[in-house]
């Protein structure tokens, strides 16, 4: 029995699944971050090798049975990555070379067997795709925290912290976000709305330790403050940030949408998946350019990586085969 391997390589976690050529998932394993850009080449290879080894073990099959491998990864695979991951596969007895695919495309293929439609993601980053004839026909955003990712967790979290500091500085309106941000930093307790208003140089003293803490982090860690925008209830500043995030995500989706391609719209990323109010608002806005589109949430791209690997060996993945993949994957003990 020929088998395939799908690997969804993320910056903070990596998922591997082994499936039979009939589309039945036989083994699954999840590990830490495996993207060489995020964690370094050495750690990436160790994580990915560990995940694939465990998935094969759980599937109770040897690496020699794997005839196709798809790696879905942000930024794609460089020629060095391909060589390094190829060595890893050979050490596990897998002769098939890794085929790279984009992480957003992997997520799209996790949501539908259809070969046209859209993907909209908002997690730490944010971006959108239009898929036609099983290929990426248009990409918008996904440009990273410094240059794009509008409506992403980083984008929201950065605005949350800046709004809190503007409040403390008298440059911006008073907002409950201030208390929430200082609370998360351990610089104020809840229920003390005037916390940290002792002055140094006419500025609340708490600003200096807050700056010192945050500038020690990697910038993307500001994404952690996105939760405060959703926790702040009807606070006007927080509501404006949430609304601007929804408008930005719809703008990114609108940039790839095309009248002849109706959907579905696959939805990925923790910010959209964990905040139903935001997702509903994005759906409402998108109805103007994508009327009647179905929205399909997906947790990650591993089912898509398996689907792409099966297609690579000539398997036609239609509705029934796709449901076989996702149902058998969901039934695996470690999934």
């Amino acid at each position: 029995m020929d088998c395939v391997l799908g690997v969804d390589v993320g910056g903070s976690s990596t998922r591997c699944a082994v499936a039979s050529s009939a589309g039945r998932c036989l083994g699954y394993a999840k590990g830490g971050g495996g993207n060489p850009i995020s964690v370094g080449a050495h750690a990436a290879i160790e994580t990915v090798a560990g995940g694939i080894g465990l998935a094969l073990e759980r599937a109770k099959i040897g690496g020699e049975r794997i005839v196709a491998v798809v790696f879905c990864m942000a930024g794609g695979l460089t020629s060095e990555d391909t060589a390094a991951f190829g060595d890893t596969l050979r050490e596990l007895g897998i002769r098939a070379a890794p085929t790279p695919a984009g992480d957003l495309f992997g997520n799209f293929c996790s949501g539908t067997w259809q070969t046209s439609g859209y993907l909209l993601e908002s997690g730490t980053g944010a971006g959108a795709l239009r898929i036609e004839d099983g290929e990426v026909a248009k990409t918008s955003d996904g440009l990273g925290w410094l240059l794009g990712d509008e409506g992403s967790g980083f984008w929201i979290g950065r605005r949350v912290v800046r709004a809190a500091l503007a409040d403390l500085d008298d440059r911006g309106p008073r907002t409950r976000l201030t208390e929430l941000v200082l609370g998360r930093l351990g610089l104020a307790r809840e229920g003390q709305p005037d916390c940290g208003r002792d002055l140094v140089d006419g500025r609340p003293a708490v600003v200096i330790p807050a700056l010192r803490m945050i500038y020690k982090w990697r910038p993307v860690e500001l994404a952690g403050f996105a939760a405060e925008a959703f926790a702040a209830g009807d606070d006007a500043v927080a509501a404006a940030i949430r609304e601007e995030a929804a408008l930005s995500l719809d703008n990114t989706l609108a940039a790839v949408s095309r009248p002849g391609i109706r959907g579905p719209v696959v939805i990925a990323g923790s910010v959209l998946l964990n905040n139903p109010g935001l997702l509903d608002r994005v759906k409402g806005l998108a109805a103007r350019h994508l009327p009647q589109a179905a929205f399909i949430p997906v947790p990650d791209g591993v089912a898509g990586a398996v689907t792409l690997a099966l297609r690579q060996i000539g398997v036609q993945v239609g509705r029934a085969q796709f449901e076989a993949i996702t149902d058998s994957l969901a039934a695996l003990p470690n999934r």
Copy 2:
């Protein structure tokens, strides 16, 4: 004759001046970046020691004649900085300990002998102060590129690059900034407005090399693209960025302004000094909360550091003494 030493320590350049207790500047030297946060403790001390040594040499006085030293520096001096700079001074024969002052306050004191008024700065960063009774009474912004600095060079440059990428992505309007940004990156020649519109995954191919280049830089280097906002003429996107910068800077100034304190408003930083259109717009906006205030541009904080050092030894620096400092400083050969 007792003398004083004023040092304006910046991230990219450091200025030292020696003055007599009568307020006549006798020696001046300029060196590279001397802020331990930006360049590291070792390089900072070497630069500052070299600058002070050269200023003393040019003043033709020995270190033992220096009775007061003021260091103006962003972020202030930590206790380790103070100890390390103190060692440097002793090696040059200077027994006086370094007194720290903020860089924005040094800039204010470079512009006026008056002990109340305002400072508004926009260079790589941006912030404002209100001064009362010769001390900082209120501070707003100056929070760095990630958390504040609204209307700064970084703030403008980041918007310029994001607008260009949004144009290439079809998320934003067409703008001349795209051509200017790609030109600065060496990815397109001027006069080719459709440059880089060959597609990969439905995205202009030029986006990928642009991202790779910029993400290799330190984020603050985006400040270099602020020039494109001013070079783009009547382009609507560039004009909107310039207007938003002016509104942000006025908002920061308004946050520190107080009816009883009329001015002057000392203006510092390359973005405000090199772009008269922006400065005029900020002046116009500020007239609403600071009517009739005089605006005084200053190139740096070294005259302010000298002024603060003279005040430390009990010299009353009024209009005549202040003009003696700035006139004698301007007349020095290396200034």
